[in-house]
Symmetry: C2
Subunit: 207 residues, 2 copies
């Protein structure tokens, strides 16, 4: 930008300012219209990447506000970077890996069901802990999809949780009844995926 602004530049700057002032008024009115504060039931679903990743990002954000966070992994059994990183927050993160890998790894339905029931029991305990502000139920959608847990009971317990508790559920193919009960549902769509271009699973990206 030149020191001596031309008249056109000045006009354009003024038009921009007026447009943005108008937008700010709309934005401020919108913000003012929202008054409810409550714990949210959130779902990250869809075929794209970012469902669990965003849930752990939310855990990080919560930790930054001084909360305690509970995590239950229903399916995945593998140690991950996020688990290692969250260890630096000590007992402010309660982490449970109840899963033993995907269902094609165990090849044992009874064992998968038992692992999911164990995970759900742990989840209920975390949801009852008043010191915890956010509970991450990672891949719970997978457990529900395979009918490894009773959907009605899961939805009932999630909706009757205490009013200030945030819960985030991840996994593809979220059940309609869970979507119905949720406050926030994000569908991660895969516009483009590096696996299709022959790129393998890499540390720091997939786990």
């Amino acid at each position: 930008m030149q020191d001596n602004m031309s008249e056109n530049d000045t006009d354009e700057a003024e038009r921009h300012r007026a447009k943005m002032a108008k937008r700010k008024a709309v934005q401020d009115a919108e913000v003012a219209s929202k008054t409810i504060a409550k714990g949210l039931l959130m779902i990250n679903t869809g075929p794209g990447k970012g469902k669990s990743t965003a849930a752990f990002g939310l855990a990080l954000r919560s930790l930054g506000h001084g909360w305690r966070v509970g995590v239950v992994q229903f399916i995945k059994g593998r140690a991950t970077g996020e688990q290692a990183a969250l260890e630096s927050f000590g007992d402010r993160v309660v982490w449970h890996t109840a899963g033993e890998g995907f269902t094609w790894e165990t090849q044992d339905k009874a064992r998968d069901i038992a692992a999911c029931q164990r995970a759900w029991g742990i989840a209920l305990g975390l949801m009852d802990d008043p010191t915890i502000g956010l509970v991450v139920l990672d891949e719970l959608n997978i457990a529900l999809r395979y009918d490894y847990l009773p959907l009605d009971e899961v939805v009932a317990k999630l909706t009757s949780r205490r009013n200030d508790l945030h819960v985030i559920v991840t996994g593809r193919n979220a059940k309609p009844a869970l979507i119905e009960a949720a406050d926030l549902v994000t569908e991660m769509g895969a516009v483009k995926h590096h696996f299709s271009a022959g790129v393998k699973t890499q540390a720091g990206i997939e786990f």
Copy 2:
């Protein structure tokens, strides 16, 4: 499950095992077919929640593998929970908030452009730092959408970065040229959003 499994139960368990063994073979072949390891250019876009959140989840995952992470915020100027939480990783996280809020906050286009140019300069420095494994360019898509930065130059610099560097770009309305250059593009779709139900912006959830 009963101690004495009926013949039906045994049959069903065996069918499950056979089906999962087959699926595992398919899965293993798929994994084996992917052999490329490289730094990825990733984009989180779309109207739904989780774009920046997943980028910070990825930062967390990278930190768990011992990497250093660089973050540049192009638009947002507000202090966030994720920023506070990432401070516990000391100098393994290099954080720059170059933005001063959304464009309707500053109402000054020249100032917004200057802030974006400053942010881009910082981003280039981080991308050149060989000790950094992941660079988060938060809301860069917004800067590009408003033409606050030259798209051609940004795409050229991103695609010519060193081979092992991962970069993640967030923000709505990713430019087609950037999508074309990317390895991974996820579109966050808003199936359901709590703002529509009058819930306000809350600590730990939105910031």
